[in-house]
């Protein structure tokens, strides 16, 4: 369509150099150019939050940003949560509390919760629920997601 631009993305501490059209969405670049398919696309219009990643530690919708806008930022995706075979507390909590069924929305919820808990490790229940209302899940009814995030909140307290 148009000329491709050189973009370098930093995802989970690794640099990915790519040539993409200006219109290339960040989520597509992460999935296709970086090969990190853990970030999912559920609606591509910013409602469902399955594509949530952390950009400079803040949860963002990667379907609503262009790849070129992420140049220079530190991006984190679900693939970056575990340290080798050691799961991140949020991952372990989702597993322990049956916080997922089909698992499609899960990466988005994991990144959202990680960002929220990192920003405010002592976040209150009400504020936590408000933050989690950013994303949609169609399987769990959210109950076990909330249990999991509360458990991770305890684990992640400094």
């Amino acid at each position: 369509m148009t000329e491709k631009l050189d973009v370098t993305l930093s995802v989970n501490g690794k640099r990915y150099e790519m040539k993409v059209e200006p219109r290339r969405m960040l989520a597509d670049a992460i999935r296709e150019e970086c090969g990190l398919t853990g970030t999912h696309l559920g609606c591509e219009h910013g409602v469902c939050g399955a594509c949530t990643i952390l950009m400079d530690d803040k949860p963002v919708r990667s379907c609503l940003m262009f790849a070129v806008q992420a140049e220079g930022a530190e991006l984190r995706t679900v693939e970056g949560l575990a340290k080798g075979n050691e799961l991140h507390p949020i991952q372990q909590a989702f597993w322990d509390h049956h916080g997922l069924q089909c698992g499609f929305c899960t990466p988005g919820f994991l990144m959202l919760a990680t960002g929220v808990l990192e920003q405010n490790p002592n976040i209150g229940d009400e504020e936590l629920v408000h933050a989690l209302s950013s994303n949609l899940c169609r399987c769990t009814g959210y109950q076990n997601i909330l249990k999991a995030v509360k458990a991770a909140r305890e684990e992640m307290k400094p």
Partner: protein, 766 residues
């Protein structure tokens, strides 16, 4: 070790929490082309010439097809509840001379990249001459197609003397009730990736779900391939709920393109397409009459209802309407019954099943009726149900109806018992008193209930292939599918306990048609009942063979041996002489003297057959508070009580019930596919099709009982998938009525703030 009945953590979770899942969009093949569907912007019209010139000139375009390019591909047929009347309304994979709903595929573009395919699809121009649209299923029967009316068929079911019931009635109650158009809306949109493997001469379709064996047989036949020339492969599936995994036009187009273009073809739909083109559901309008005696006992029900089928009849054929007819009477005696379900075509997206199909609708209708009966004779909602429930001594209870090719016989159940336990759990008398006190102080608070009988475990059969290797690993190949419900874990639990293996050494395979010849798939809450029972049988056979061989190896009588966590030893003697399952398999190599004429190794193919479904049942109770300023509805309390017969994994059962309740709440209060008078859909994004987030979701309590195990399978299990959803609409409607102190006010779902606003206005005026 005992695994059955324990809340074992899920075996399938690790790849899903680490971003290593394999959903449809995650699958790619070298040199693949991307497919994009061009869809009708009109609800009804005559399809004229389609101008492809501009699109074909676009960079990267490989091919574009319209209806004439696929005229040789037959209509997509029916999977369940086939009725000959419905056949003229089947869908072709691309529209031929007429479009019948907004979103109908009229052309398909193949290009080197997704973006190029989408760009080219934007400049495909079809000439479509508008035709008058049919929007309401309850309108008088008219012409839908030349020579075909809007009424494709009428499903009729009846028992008892209904005319006599009305002759004897002390009162007759008539209600007109409607359940809106919703759908499952899995978070993963549909997708298919097809490639032809020249070396094996096999067409592969990846991204399969729900019913891979049926889809393999259907698609291969449509494409003129021999059965062995096609296989389906299921990866991770991002939610099913009834709508995902049926054969749709796009699946067939993807496969056909892989054959014709001789390149892998990838199709991933976007959310707007999903909302326009994947099956919708519900959308039923009921006119129900009941004959009752002076005590509120229902003598007979006569129901005439209309299913808004949309523009075509797809794979489910008459299923939803048939189930609605058969399941409407629920847990009540109702000595006489007559139902007529009109399957009506309209110019909307075609409809199929969605979690608790035909039951979410009819539970709403039946329980609204029970509430009305209670009001009429001046008794409490619980008392009117007590007067009508089927007593314990009448179970098993032959309903006198059939559905899905089976007779409806409630196999086991204590309907009074479950209701009493649920009422005790919530402290019903206190809850009622507290609500009344709050109402006296001006709050709008109310309690509602809903009782229902579910159905699960549809046969006729399921097959499993279980084998143990020389390392003691157990492979269980099933013919079912996983749509996220925890199939691998629950099936492994049954196998581990029955065989005596460690659950860590069990791999459960599903959705791979090249590994097992038969498979019925995952629908109608059938997997645990059917496949679970087949595993129970097969694993039991292997246990017996392993013990026989171990008796020879250890020189100990078989009756003195036990097997636990893959180790066979003398009962009560650990440590002591032992062999492992792997040792046994090594000892049973071909040519072994231990074989005694049996096949080598530890492997079996086992089947479970069932002529009848099992019938779980449940009771919901909920309390709402209405805000008179915003007209918002807050669910303050909610309990799902459910008798599942036997729970394999209580954690997963609760997960199904709570998640199901969330979808039920969506349908009761928020979700609806609205159309304008021209048949234009007004809910084509998540901004307009509004689903519950965590803030709309109350804390749902569950009471899972095992009081009535099913006598129809060796585990005693019944299905868990649909009981959380079933009665939510009914329950919330009753609660809202009571909160407003306007009995019978809620006649239609979903109930939004506008409904509440108008009801409050009416109340103030009165």
């Amino acid at each position: 070790m005992n695994y059955i009945g324990r809340s074992v953590k899920r075996l399938e979770d690790l790849p899903l929490i680490t971003g290593r899942g394999r959903f449809a969009a995650d699958i790619s093949f070298p040199n693949q082309v991307y497919m994009r569907v061009v869809r009708s912007p009109f609800a009804h019209g005559k399809l004229g010439p389609i101008d492809l010139s501009e699109a074909l000139a676009q960079e990267g375009v490989v091919a574009i097809w319209t209806g004439k390019d696929v005229v040789d591909i037959p209509h997509i047929g029916f999977r369940l509840t086939k009725l000959a009347d419905l056949e003229p309304y089947r869908q072709t994979i691309l529209a031929q001379d007429r479009v019948r709903y907004v979103g109908e595929p009229i052309a398909v573009v193949f290009a080197e990249s997704q973006a190029q395919a989408e760009d080219a699809a934007e400049v495909v121009f079809a000439e479509i001459d508008d035709l008058p649209v049919v929007i309401r299923a309850i309108d008088p029967v008219g012409e839908f197609l030349p020579g075909r009316t809007t009424e494709a068929s009428v499903v009729r079911k009846a028992y008892g003397d209904i005319d006599d019931a009305f002759r004897r009635a002390a009162h007759v109650i008539e209600l007109e009730l409607y359940v809106g158009r919703h759908s499952g809306i899995p978070m993963e949109t549909r997708g298919a990736i097809a490639r032809f493997d020249e070396s094996r001469q096999v067409l592969e379709m990846h991204g399969a779900a729900k019913v891979p064996h049926w889809n393999r047989a259907t698609i291969s036949k449509l494409l003129g391939l021999p059965l062995e020339g096609m296989h389906l492969y299921e990866g991770h599936v991002g939610g099913g709920f009834g709508i995902r995994g049926e054969v749709y036009p796009e699946d067939v187009l993807t496969c056909l393109a892989a054959l014709r273009l001789k390149r892998p073809v990838k199709w991933i739909e976007d959310r707007k397409e999903h909302l326009l083109a994947a099956n919708h559901s519900r959308d039923q309008h009921h006119r129900i009459r009941a004959a009752i005696d002076e005590n509120g006992f229902i003598l007979g029900i006569d129901d005439d209802f209309f299913t808004d089928q949309g523009g075509y009849v797809r794979t489910h054929a008459a299923t939803v309407t048939d189930l609605a007819c058969a399941m409407l009477p629920g847990p009540y005696v109702i000595p006489a019954y007559r139902a007529a379900g009109h399957i009506r075509l309209t110019n909307k997206t075609p409809a199929g099943t969605y979690r608790a199909p035909g039951r979410y609708e009819t539970t709403f209708v039946r329980e609204r009726l029970l509430d009305a009966v209670g009001h009429k004779v001046g008794i409490d909602p619980i008392e009117v149900r007590r007067r009508n429930l089927i007593p314990l001594d009448k179970i098993p209870f032959a309903r006198g109806l059939d559905t899905l090719g089976t007779e409806v016989t409630y196999d086991s159940g204590d309907y009074f018992g479950l209701m009493d336990q649920a009422l005790q759990r919530v402290g019903y008398e206190d809850m009622k008193k507290a609500a009344a006190e709050r109402r006296a102080k001006g709050e709008l608070v109310g309690i509602g209930v809903g009782y229902f009988v579910e159905k699960s475990g549809l046969g006729p059969m399921d097959e499993v292939d279980i084998s143990v290797d020389e390392d003691g690993h157990v492979r269980v190949i099933t013919g079912v599918a996983s749509i996220g419900q925890g199939v691998e874990t629950s099936m492994a639990q049954i196998c581990a306990e029955r065989l005596g293996a460690s659950i860590d050494k069990i791999t459960v395979i599903h959705g791979q048609t090249d590994l097992i010849g038969h498979g019925m798939g995952a629908f109608a809450s059938r997997v645990t009942v059917m496949t679970g029972s087949a595993i129970y049988i097969g694993a039991g056979q292997l246990r017996e063979r392993a013990l026989q061989a171990a008796a020879s190896l250890l020189q100990v009588p078989e009756a003195e041996l036990e097997i636990d966590e893959g180790v066979i030893s003398r009962k009560g003697q650990v440590p002591g002489p032992s062999v492992t399952l792997g040792d046994v398999v090594r000892a049973l190599r071909p040519g072994s003297t231990l074989l005694n004429g049996n096949d080598p190794g530890l492997k079996t193919v086992a089947q479970f057959t069932a002529d009848h479904m099992t019938y779980p049942y449940g009771f919901h109770i909920g309390q709402v508070r209405i805000d008179p300023e915003t007209c918002g509805i807050e669910i303050e309390k909610y309990l799902v009580a459910y008798d599942i017969g036997k729970s394999i994994n209580p954690m997963l059962v609760e997960g199904q019930l709570v998640g199901g309740a969330c979808q039920g709440i969506g349908g009761a209060l928020y979700e609806q596919f609205v159309y304008d008078e021209q048949g234009q859909p007004l809910a084509t994004s998540f901004m307009d099709y509004v689903m519950p987030t965590i803030t709309e979701m109350p804390w749902v309590d569950t009471l899972v009982r095992e009081d009535a195990p099913s006598p129809l399978n060796p585990l005693g299990v019944k299905g868990a998938g649909e009981g959380g959803t079933n009665a939510v609409g009914a329950t919330l409607a009753g609660a809202i009525d009571e909160a407003l102190q306007m009995p019978g006010a809620i006649t239609s779902l979903p109930v939004g703030p506008a409904t509440i606003y108008n009801l409050l206005k009416k109340k103030r005026a009165a």
